[in-house]
Symmetry: D2
Subunit: 421 residues, 4 copies
Amino acid sequence: MTTTSSAEPGHQKLAWARAHMPVHTALRDRYREIRPFAGLCIAVCSHIEAKTGVFLETLAAAGAEVVFTGSEPGSSQDDVVAALNEQPGISGYARRGVNEEELARLHSRALDHQPNLILDDAAELTARLVHQRPELLDGLRGVCEQTTTGVQRIQAMLADGALRFPAYAVNHTPMKHEFDNIHGTGESALTNLMLTTNLLLAGKQVVVCGYGDCGVGIAHKARAWGAQVTVTEVEPRRALRAHMNGFAVRPMDEAAGIGEFFITATGNRDVIRGEHFRLMRDGAILANAGHFNVEIDAAGLADEAEARYTVRPGIEAFRMGDGREIHLICEGRLVNLAAPTAMGHPAEVMDQTFAMQFMAAEDLLRRRDQLNAGVHAVPDAVDAEVASLKLKTLGVGIDALTDSQRRFLEAWRADDILESP
Amino acid sequence: MTTTSSAEPGHQKLAWARAHMPVHTALRDRYREIRPFAGLCIAVCSHIEAKTGVFLETLAAAGAEVVFTGSEPGSSQDDVVAALNEQPGISGYARRGVNEEELARLHSRALDHQPNLILDDAAELTARLVHQRPELLDGLRGVCEQTTTGVQRIQAMLADGALRFPAYAVNHTPMKHEFDNIHGTGESALTNLMLTTNLLLAGKQVVVCGYGDCGVGIAHKARAWGAQVTVTEVEPRRALRAHMNGFAVRPMDEAAGIGEFFITATGNRDVIRGEHFRLMRDGAILANAGHFNVEIDAAGLADEAEARYTVRPGIEAFRMGDGREIHLICEGRLVNLAAPTAMGHPAEVMDQTFAMQFMAAEDLLRRRDQLNAGVHAVPDAVDAEVASLKLKTLGVGIDALTDSQRRFLEAWRADDILESP
Amino acid sequence: MTTTSSAEPGHQKLAWARAHMPVHTALRDRYREIRPFAGLCIAVCSHIEAKTGVFLETLAAAGAEVVFTGSEPGSSQDDVVAALNEQPGISGYARRGVNEEELARLHSRALDHQPNLILDDAAELTARLVHQRPELLDGLRGVCEQTTTGVQRIQAMLADGALRFPAYAVNHTPMKHEFDNIHGTGESALTNLMLTTNLLLAGKQVVVCGYGDCGVGIAHKARAWGAQVTVTEVEPRRALRAHMNGFAVRPMDEAAGIGEFFITATGNRDVIRGEHFRLMRDGAILANAGHFNVEIDAAGLADEAEARYTVRPGIEAFRMGDGREIHLICEGRLVNLAAPTAMGHPAEVMDQTFAMQFMAAEDLLRRRDQLNAGVHAVPDAVDAEVASLKLKTLGVGIDALTDSQRRFLEAWRADDILESP
Amino acid sequence: MTTTSSAEPGHQKLAWARAHMPVHTALRDRYREIRPFAGLCIAVCSHIEAKTGVFLETLAAAGAEVVFTGSEPGSSQDDVVAALNEQPGISGYARRGVNEEELARLHSRALDHQPNLILDDAAELTARLVHQRPELLDGLRGVCEQTTTGVQRIQAMLADGALRFPAYAVNHTPMKHEFDNIHGTGESALTNLMLTTNLLLAGKQVVVCGYGDCGVGIAHKARAWGAQVTVTEVEPRRALRAHMNGFAVRPMDEAAGIGEFFITATGNRDVIRGEHFRLMRDGAILANAGHFNVEIDAAGLADEAEARYTVRPGIEAFRMGDGREIHLICEGRLVNLAAPTAMGHPAEVMDQTFAMQFMAAEDLLRRRDQLNAGVHAVPDAVDAEVASLKLKTLGVGIDALTDSQRRFLEAWRADDILESP
C-alpha cells in the first residue's frame, strides 16, 4: 500500500482509533476466515472519520466490497477519506464542507455501486435510494440504521407504504442507544461546547431540550459538573423521569428566559424558535446535539436579527433589535461533529455502535428469508453477544446462573419458590 | 364510622398517606361517579400498610367490593388493617409476623370472597388460586401484577401451561419500574439499612447484587453518598451498563471478599451462598432488597456458623469457625419492609405504582374481550395517562408538539426534512 | 461486672459500637500502659449513647476518672447510661426526655466531681461552670469543644472577658468538621427525616438553610438522591460556592414559597420565622439539623397557627388561618438525634470525632503551660495523627515524599525547579 | 487605535472574554475615576491570552502602567499579545512556543520596566527578580501570587532568608482556590484531555495524583462522568477525605498498574516515575494538570523507552522494551493550556481569580506600611468583597443577619441562647 501525503494524517488517525476499538479487533479475528459478507457490496453512510474507517476495514476483512459516503455535510474528514481510499476492498465518496446538493451527488455515486446492504446514519442513503433510485430496490437485501432520527424516518416510510425491504433498528438496541447516546453524545456535546466557548459549566443555567437518551446524557453530565439544568419535554413519562431525577422541568416558553446555554436533543424541528428567541437573556448560547440542523430555527433567528457576525471560530452572534445578542454554535449543526475542536464520538463508543451494525448486518443477511419488509428489532441475542464481546475486551467478569437459580426463575408455586433447591 | 382504639393509629397513618398521594385524590375525583368497578370483587394482595390502604379506599370509591390480604409475612401493620376493616366496602385478612402457614390461611380467606380481579404483589395470591383453588378460575377476569418477581412467576405459569386468564405486567410499565424500583426501593433500602446498623455509607465498600432497576437505584444512591460500589450481574448488557456508569463489576466470588455491606436485588435465589460466606471479611453485613427472602441463603449461613445471636434489633450475628462474624439483616427479608425502622415505600412512589394498578385494572376490565390468556403489556397510553395525572398534581408543565413538528416526525424524504415547514 | 436488666440493651449497643470504632480500639491499645490521664477527672458532656460510651471507656482505659452528662434534653439513652454506670472509672448523670431545668440539675451533679478537663458539646457544661460554678475554675485545666455552636459560644465568652482557661476548637480541625458534619450530619439528618415522614427525596423541593459543612453535606446528599435543592446563606463566599456547585441560591423570603422540605443548619436562631411561615406551601415540612432548637422559630409558628396536633410520631401539624398546614419535625430539635428512628451519628463518624477529642485532650494537658487562656486551634500534627490512625484501621495506604520531592518543595530558583534532582 | 491584521483575532478574543468577565466590568466602573494604581508600574506575569488581557485592561483603566510577560513557554497567544500591545498603558513581552532561555529573556525585558508591583503566576517573575535582578528590590512594593506552586516557592524564599517584601498569597483565598482550582482546572483539564485523545471518560480507570483543590475537581468531575477514579496522596487528611468521598485511595505503586489515564495535580516533581512506568498497562495515557512540567518524569520515561513518536497532535507514544506503549500528553505540560484544543481556563473563573489579584494589589498598596516582608494572607474582607461583587453580577441574592441573630452569635450563657430575643 502506497500512501500519499494527504492521506498520511488519516492513516495516523486510523491507527489510534484501531488501538481503541478492541471489539473490532475481536470481530476481525473471528470473521476473517468465515467471510460472512463475501460477494456482497455494503454501502456505509456515516460521518467518515477514523472510527468509521476502522468499521469499514472490519467489514472488508469479513469479505465485503465496501463503499462509503458521508451522512452529513460537515462531518467527514478528507485525510481519513484519502487513507481509506488507499485500502483494498474499500472505496468511497465524502468531503468535508459540502453543501446539500453536493452531498446528494456524493450519495448518488455511492449508490452507483448497487449496494446489497446499507448501513445507514439518519436513513440518509436509504431515503435517497427509495426516493430517487427505485431501480436499486431489487438488489437491496436490507438496511441497518443506527440513529433515532433514522429509525423514525424509516418508520415514516413504512407508514407511507414505501418500505420494500427489512430494516434493523440498530439504534433501538440497548447496546447502541444506552451507550452511544448517553455517554458518547453526552460527553462529546459538552466537551466541544465548553472548549468552543471557553466558558465554565459550573454555576451555569443550562436548558436541555429533550430527555431521550442523548438528553439524559447531556443533562446528567452537565449537572454533575455544577450546572443548574432545566429540561423541556413533550412526552409525560420522560418529563416525570427528569423531575424525579431532580431536574427542573418546564415548558419551553418558561425555560427560554432562564437559560444561558440551550442544547437541543429531540430529533424534531424548530424546538427553539421565534417566540423563544424573544424571551432569551442577552448572551444566550444555542447548540444542537441532534442529527439534523433543524432543531434550532436558525433561519428564523436570522430573520429576527438586525445583524449577524462571527465572534469566534464556531460561534456566530445575532444582534436583536433590542440590543441583546444570541449566539449560535456551528449554525445549529451537531456540536460534537461540527465544532472547531470536534473529533466526533469517542472511539470506544463507536467501537460498540459499529460492532452492533456489523453483527446486525451479519444477522440480517443470515435470517433474510424470515424477515418481511418492515422495521425489525435486532434479536436480543445479537445485542447480548456484542455486550459479551465488549466485556471480554475490558477484562470484566460476570456470574453465570446456577442450575438451581435457573429452575427458580421457572418456578411459580409457593412451595417451589420457598423450599430448598 | 366508629373507631376502635387499636385502629386509631392506623387512621392517623392513613390520613398522612392520603395527603401525600395526590394522584389517588385525582382518581377518586374522576371515578367516584363513573364507578367502573361497580358489582365486582377485587382482591388486593400487598403489604397492608397506610399507602396500600389509600389504594383500597380509591378502589372502593370507584365502586369495587374490596378484599385485601398481606403478601409477605412481616410487612403488614395491624393498626392499618384494623382501620381499613372499619371502612365500608373494604374487608380483609392480614397480620404482622405470621409464618408461611398462617399466611396461606389468610390468603385462603381472601380467596373465599371469589374475586373477579386480583391486584397482586409477587403473584402470591394468583399462584394460590391457580394452584389450590382452581374452582375460582371461572370467575376471575384477570390479574394485574406489580413486581418483577411476580411477572416472572406468571410467565413461568404460562410456560407451564397453567395460565387461563389475561395478566397485566404492571411492573413492566415505565411508570412503575422506573420510579418505584429505582427511587422507592433505592431510597428506602438504604435509609433503613443505615439506621438499623447506625453506620455510615460514606467510605464503605458496598456490593450490590443485580443491576436491574432496584439495583440501579441502590448502587447509584449508595455511591452518591460516598460508598465504593461493586456490582455483580449475570446479564452482559446490565454488567456493561454498570461498568460504563463507573461501577466496579466483578463476579460474586471476587466481590465476596471486598464488601462491608452486601445488598441483593436480583429476583433470584442463593445469590449469596456458602462459597461466598467463606470469603467474607469479618463484620460483613448482608441485606436483601428483593421480594423473597431467598436471595441470601440464610439456612446455608446458619449451617456454616458455630453460633448465632441477635446483636441489635434487626441484626443477627453468625459466628464462623474461624472467628469471623457475618451479620444478617432481618433474616434476609426485604430490608425496607422488615427493618425495625421500616415504613415501606415512600408515599409518593406508592401513589404512582398503585395508580398504575388502578388504571391497568380499569383498562383490563374494559378490554377484557380482546385479551387472551397470557401476559400482556399495559397499553402505553394508560402509562402515559398516569404520568400526565402525576405531572398535573406536581404542577409541572410540558410542551405539546406543533403541527409542523408532528408533520416532521412523519416525513422521511430529504427535501421534506430540510425545507421550511 | 454484674449487669442489671435495664442495662442489658445498653451493653449490647456498646458492643456493636465498639466493633465499629476501630480508632478507639487503637487508642486503647496505645494508651493503656501510658495512662496519660491518670489522676485526672475528665467531664464529658455529650449525647450519652453507645458511641459516646465507647469514648468514655477509652478515656477510662487511659487512666481518667470519667464523669459524664447529657448535652441535650432528648438525646441520651437510658439503657446506655445504665450500662456505663456499671463500668469501673465511669459514672454519670443523664436521662432521656428531661426538660431544661432537669438538664441543668444533671449538669450540676457532674460538675460536683470537680473536673480537671471538660470535653464538651455545644459548650453546655463549660458555660454552666463559667456562669454558675466559678469556684471550679481553679481546678479546670482546659476545655475541648467539638461543635460549631460550642466554639462560637466560647469565642463569645472570650469576647466577653469570661474565658480563664485554654480551649481547643476541636470542631475546627479538618478531621472533625469535614467528616462528622458533612458525612455524619449529612447522612443521618436525611435518613431520619425520610423515615420519619415516609416520603421520597427524589423530585422534592428541598431548602437547605446554611451552607457550612453540615449544610454542604445535606444539600449534596439530598440532590444526589434526586431532590431540587435551594440554598440560603448570609455569607457571600458560601453562597457563591453553592452557586458554583449547581445549587439555586436564594434569599429566604424567595425560598420560603418554594420548599416542600426545609432543613436548617446554620448555628443561628430564627432562620425560619413568622414572615416565612406565611409564604409557605401547604404541607411544608420543617426540620432542624443544628445543635440548638432555635433555628426554626417554633414559638412563632405556634403563635401564627390556629391549631396544632400530632400527625405521626415526631411530626406535629400547625394549621394556619388560611387552611394551610405546616409540619414541624421533633419540635425543631436536631432531627438526627430526636427523631423516632434516631440512632445519633453513625459509629465511624463518632469514632473519628471522639478520637480527635481524645488526642486534643492529651495534647492540651501535655502543652498546658504553653497555652494561654483563649481559643486555640488543635495542632495540625494531632489532626494528621488521627487521620493516619484512621487510614491504618481502614487498611488504606498512601505515599511518602521522596527526598528529591522534599527538596523540590523547598526550592524556589528557576534552575533548581527545572533541573534534574 | 489602529489594528494590524495579526492582532485582529486577538481583539476578537478579547471582546468575547470581556463579555464573559462581568466582575472586571464592575471593577473598571468602580475604579476608573479613583485610579488607585496611578503612577505605578505593575508587572503581570501570566499566560498571556484573552482573559489575562481583560485583566490588564482593567489594571490600566485603574491608572497603572502595565507591563506583561508570559509565565510558561507554551501558553501565550501571539494574536492576543499583538492586540494588547496596541492598547494605551499596556505593553509586554510574550510569545508562544519559546524555550526556557527565551522565556528568561522575555522576563528580563519586562523587569527592565522596573515594576513597583508584581502580579505573578508560579512566582516566575518574582524569582527572576530576587535571584537575578536584586537592584530592583528597592522599587518593589510587593507581590501578589495566584498559584499553589508560586506561594510554595515564595515560602521557600522566606525560609531561605531571601524575601525582602510583602507577598499576598492570593492563591490561598477561598475565592481563588476553591473556584479556579476545583472548577476551572477540573473542567478544562478533562475537556482538553478527552478531546485530545478522542476517548471516553465513562468506564475508564482514571488515577488522579494529588487530592488538593485541583485534584478534587478532576477526581469528582471524572467520576461524575462515569470513570472509576483512584486517588494517590502523601497527606493523610486529604487521603481520608478522598476515601470518605468514595474514591479508592492507593499508593502509587498499586495505582500504576490500574490506570488507563493518569492525571497529576500535586505541585511536586516525579510523582510518576521510572518504577511506575514499568508497572503500567499497555496504552496508558499520562497528563499533567499542575503548573510545572516536572510532575511526570518525562526524561525518565524517554530513558526507559526504546522508541518515541507522535501519534496525534499533542500525544507522543513511548514504546517500552516489552512492547507496551505509554502515551504522554503535551510533553507533560499543563494539559489545559498546552493541548491542541486548549483555550486556558474558562473566562468566568479567570474573571474571579484576576479580580482577586486586582483587589489584593489594591489592598497591598493601601496597607503597605503595616505589612512586613513575608507571606501574608489576603484580608478576609477583600475576599468577601470579591464574592459579593460576583454574586451581584450573577443576580444572586442572599440574606442579611437580623439584629437578634447578630446578638445570638455573641451570646454564650444558656439563658441568653434559649430565651426569646
